[in-house]
């Protein structure tokens, strides 16, 4: 297991360690900086300004990312620093009124507050939970209760794919990507899938595409930072599908609630760009162009 991977890179060279020590020696002690929060008045003014600039950001006929926030099981509160910003983890399986979203939200709450610590001595859990973060019989029981409550089923198998053609073949679907340069990932037995893709349309879009077939339980979540930083609106593609677009500083989210599945796409860039994937800023127009790259009607 993991122990077998130890030392495969050998020892740290002395020159590397020496450079680390040199960098540390060059650091200057400094007074502790206290982070300041904006005054409430300033905060309200800022929110209103963002809302006005966003135009449709406060529309009530769609669910923004804030409505999709779930408990973050791994947000550790430190005694020595202020707590991490709350509510930065969202579920991706549906809008809040869907059983798929509610089930994942309840599962995250269970993992955060009730799941027992992993016990290395405990017997392995049933193989039917192999595709989920189930590490104890108690967690298996809790998950069973959640999926039973929401009438969902567990995934039972997964198959990798490395190309657009393989994906279409596994799904038995007609093509739904446009200008796709690369896509790879895995497909579940019911046609749900996760893929890492690259598409080119003016600029190079790097993204993670998720399709969640209704009726199945999925525990996929996404850290989106502060949901208040997003500009959000509904957009209808030229093929007539309404999608929710969320434009953030370093990532964007596209969501489409389809008859048989829910699609959530995580674009790895935003208004400030992303150092690793999409260094150039993404604009509203770019995000709408991105939405046109998918024929959602083929995904059901």
């Amino acid at each position: 297991m993991r122990e077998d991977w130890n030392n495969i890179f050998g020892e740290v060279p002395t020159s590397f360690e020496a450079r680390m020590r040199s960098a540390l020696d060059s650091l200057e002690e400094r007074p502790k900086v206290r982070r300041l929060f904006p005054r409430p008045g300033a905060l309200i003014a800022a929110v209103l300004a963002v809302a006005l600039l966003a135009g449709t950001a406060l529309a009530t006929d769609f669910f923004g990312l804030k409505a999709l926030i779930v408990d973050d099981p791994y947000a550790v509160v430190s005694a020595t620093s202020e707590p991490a910003a709350p509510g930065n983890l969202i579920a991706l399986q549906g809008f809040p009124n869907s059983p798929e979203f509610q089930a994942n939200a309840e599962w995250m709450t269970y993992l955060k507050y009730s799941a027992p610590a992993p016990d290395p001595e405990a017997p392995p859990v049933d193989g039917k939970y192999a595709l989920y973060d189930v590490t104890s019989p108690a967690a298996a029981q809790a998950l069973d209760a959640i999926i039973s409550k929401h009438s969902l089923r567990l995934h039972s198998g997964v198959t990798d794919f490395d190309s657009e053609e393989e994906l279409y073949a596994l799904l038995g679907s007609r093509p739904f990507f446009t200008n796709c340069a690369a896509i790879s990932g895995y497909v579940y037995e019911d046609g749900s899938f996760q893929g890492d893709g690259t598409s080119v349309a003016g600029k190079c879009y790097e993204y993670q595409f998720g399709r969640y077939v209704k009726g199945s339980f999925s525990e996929v979540t996404l850290h989106v930072g502060n949901t208040d930083d997003y500009e959000e609106w509904m957009y209808t593609t030229s093929r007539g599908v309404a999608v929710q677009l969320s434009l953030g500083p370093t990532r964007c989210v596209l969501m489409a609630d389809l008859p048989e599945s829910f699609v959530a796409v995580n674009l790895l860039g935003g208004t400030r760009g992303d150092q690793l994937f999409m260094p150039e800023p993404v604009t509203r127009a770019d995000l709408e162009t991105f939405a046109e790259l998918f024929d959602f009607s083929a995904l059901g």
């Binding site: 060279p13 590397f16 620093s81 993670q208």
Partner: protein, 157 residues
């Protein structure tokens, strides 16, 4: 965090930082540049660390950014198969596995190093790499499959 406390935590991570740098950069000199910049930036920006418990993940993420900056600055998008043998030390316990990992594509190599070599959890890998947990799992799955192919099923997973 005082400078001494910071230094202790950083030095405790030296193996992790070296392994991650090896996962992206082939030149020993570049790795040293990257770790130096990483340490300076982490010290400068430590106020942006909201959770001390996440220090290890946070510093690792900074290092990854520095490594990619170096790749970008020198216009060397690393295609590992085309590069000469790494300058890493020779006293390796499992040279075949290391070499196979180095031959993996970027998207598989870093999750493998972070999860198997460094022991980060799926969620920590997700945060460090800024990709969904499902994607981390799929990359680990695909990365293992590729390693098996390269090593003839002798992958300890």
């Amino acid at each position: 965090m005082t400078r001494d406390e910071f230094a202790v935590q950083i030095m405790d991570m030296k193996k992790t930082l070296y392994h991650v740098a090896c996962g992206i950069l082939r030149s020993e000199a570049d790795r040293e540049d990257a770790v130096q910049e990483c340490i300076l930036k982490a010290w400068e920006k430590q106020d942006s660390l909201k959770n001390d418990a996440a220090f290890r993940s946070w510093v690792t993420r900074i290092l990854i950014n520095e490594c990619y900056d170096i790749c970008r600055r020198s216009s060397r998008i690393v295609v590992l198969d085309e590069l000469p043998e790494t300058a890493a030390p020779e006293q390796l316990d499992n040279r075949d596995l290391r070499d196979a990992i180095q031959k993996l594509e970027d998207i598989y190599r870093l999750p493998i190093i972070l999860f198997y070599v460094e022991g980060f959890s799926i969620r920590e890998c997700s945060r460090i790499l800024q990709i969904p947990e499902g994607t981390v799992k799929s990359r680990l799955h695909a990365g293992r499959a590729k390693l098996r192919t390269m090593l003839g099923e002798e992958v300890p997973v």
